[in-house]
Symmetry: C4
Subunit: 169 residues, 4 copies
C-alpha cells in the first residue's frame, strides 16, 4: 500500500490478468443447501473494468475454480476472455499474450493466493488485494487498500489509467 | 466526514436523489449460479427514509443498473419514484425537478461512483458513502462515516432533518 | 462500551426482550429477484440464548417487520415468544410482563433504531449493538463491542449471567 | 495473536480438528424464507487445507449443527472426515485418534465457542479465530488475526507447515 508506484512500468501495461476468487470477489465460497454457489462482486470494480476496456487495456479473467456466477458477471461487463478451471495459469496466459503479440512486460496481474505467484512474478507489474495471503502480498509490486470484491480491481485500474495520464472524473 | 456541515444549504433541501448500488446497497453484485441477483439494503436506512418522507422530503432513487430486488425494496418502503437502467442521470433528475417546480438547489444527491459526479455537482448539497470512489468523496460536500447499505442514507437523512430543527427520538 | 456496568440492576433481570433486525441480525435486508428475503444470524448468539434459557432468563423477540427466516431461526433455538409485525412494542411487552408477573425493572431490552427507544427506556436495563443509531446508543445503558448479528446478543447474555455469578467455561 | 508460538508442540501435529461454524465459516447462520441455509467459506482456507493434506496432516471437521452446505464444501475439498450434529465433540475425536493410532498431543484444534473448550484443552495445541468468544480466545494457544471464514484456518495451516520447515512460495 505504501510502496512507491513504478509509473514507468505501469505505462506499458496493455493487458490486465485477474484472478477471480479473492480478487474480483471477496474470496468467499457461498454455498446453499441445494448445491448452488453465489459470488460477491463489486459494482465499482465493474465500472472500472469498462473504463479500462474503453482505454484499450485488454481484460482477462483466469480462475482455478469454475462457477456459472463468474460467467454471468463477465457477460454483464462485456468481458469475453474468461478462463475457468485453469490449473496452470502461466501456460494459459503465455498463449493469450502470444496470440495478441504482447510480451509479459506488457501484462499486469492481480492475485491473492499462492497459486497466483507464478503469474504475478512473470508479469511486468503485479498487485495483491488487502486480504491476500501474506506471501502473495510480499511478492506483489502493490497491495491495494481495499479487499477483493470491495474495490481492489478499481484501485488497480485507476493506477494503470493514471500512469497513462488519464484524468478520472 | 470531518468537513463542516453547511446547514444553510441543507435547510433548503426538498428532494433527496439516491444512487442505488453502493449508496442504498453495499455496492456488491451478488449472483447465484441460476442467474439470480440479490441486494443488501439497511434496515436503518429504511426507517430513515420513512422519517424523511413524513417530514416532506421527496425521495428519488436513480440507478444505472436494473434489478427486481430494488423494485421490491422500494415498494416495501413506499418509495414510488424509482428510476432504473438510467444512463444519463442528470437529464432524468432535471425533468423530475421541473415537474415538481423545484430547483437544483433544493435537491441533495448521494453517490459513490464516477457516473454520479455530474448529478452531485448540480445539486445544492451532496454526500458520498465511506466506501465511495476517492474522486467522488473528494467532490462531495460530505462523506458519511458508514458505508452504503450500512447506514449512509440514515446519516444523510438525519443531517437534513436536523438542519430543519427536527429532533430525533 | 466503556460505560460502567450496573451489576445490581443486571442481577434482577428475568426477561430479555430483543429487537430482531440489527440486534439478532446484522441489520441488512437481503432481497433476491424472486421476492425472497434472507437473514443473517450469529451462531454465538444462538448458543448464548440457550445458556440464558437454561439459567431461567425468559427470551422474547419483538420485530416491527415480518420474515419467515426469523420464525425458522427462533424454532431452531427453541424460542417460542416471537412477536413479528409489531408497531407498538411497548404495549406488547407490557402484556407479556403482566402475564408472567414480572415488572419492567426485571426486563432488559436490546435495540438499534429509534423505534426501540420507548421499550429500552422502560426496561430495567438496556443495551445497543455497536452499529446502533447514535441516539439509541446514547440512550442505552450499554453499547456492545460487536454489531448485531455478530455477537451483540452473546455479549448481553454473558453480562446478565455473570451478574448472577455464573461462570462461563 | 501476539502470543509466542510453540513450534516444538506444533511440529508434532499430525491431525487438525476444525469446528465448522465460526471457524471454517464466518459464524453466521444465513436463512432464506424457504427454509434453506447457506454457509460462507473462504477460498484461501480451502487451498490451505489441500496443502495440509498433501503434507500428511489429517483434517477432521466436527460440528454441533448439521448443514448440507458443509457436506458440499467438504466434498469439493476432498475432506472425508466430516462429523455433523455432534453434541459431545471430545468423545468423537477420542475415537478418531484411537483409530489412527494418534495421541491427543498430536492433534491441534480450532474452535470459537464455549462448546469447543473441552476439545481445545485436550489437544496438543489449539487456536481460536479473531471473533471467538473471549473465554475461548483466552484458553487458546493462539488467536488468529483473521476471523473464521476469512482466513483463520489458512493461518493455522501455515503455522503447522512452517513448524515442519515447509516453505510456502
Amino acid at each position: 500500500m505504501k510502496r512507491p508506484i513504478d509509473r514507468d512500468r505501469l505505462k506499458n501495461i496493455r493487458l490486465l490478468a485477474l484472478d477471480v476468487d479473492g480478487v474480483l470477489t471477496d474470496g468467499t465460497i457461498r454455498l446453499d443447501g441445494a448445491g448452488g454457489e453465489s459470488k460477491v462482486f463489486s459494482v465499482q470494480d465493474g465500472s472500472a473494468l469498462k473504463r479500462a476496456s474503453a482505454a484499450g487495456v485488454e481484460i482477462v479473467w483466469i480462475s482455478g475454480r469454475t462457477s456459472p456466477a463468474v460467467a454471468a458477471r463477465a457477460k454483464e461487463l462485456g468481458v469475453t476472455a474468461v478462463y475457468q478451471g485453469v490449473e496452470e495459469k502461466t501456460g494459459v496466459l503465455d498463449k493469450i499474450l502470444a496470440g495478441k503479440g504482447l510480451s509479459w512486460k506488457q501484462a499486469a496481474a492481480v492475485g491473492d493466493d499462492l497459486n497466483d505467484l507464478a503469474v504475478m512474478r512473470k508479469c511486468g507489474w503485479s498487485a495483491a488485494p488487502s486480504q491476500a495471503h501474506p506471501a502473495v502480498a510480499a511478492a506483489a509490486d502493490y497491495v491495494t487498500g481495499t479487499p477483493g470484491g470491495g474495490g481492489a480491481v478499481r484501485e488497480v485500474v485507476d493506477l494503470i489509467l493514471e500512469a497513462r495520464g488519464r484524468a478520472l472524473s
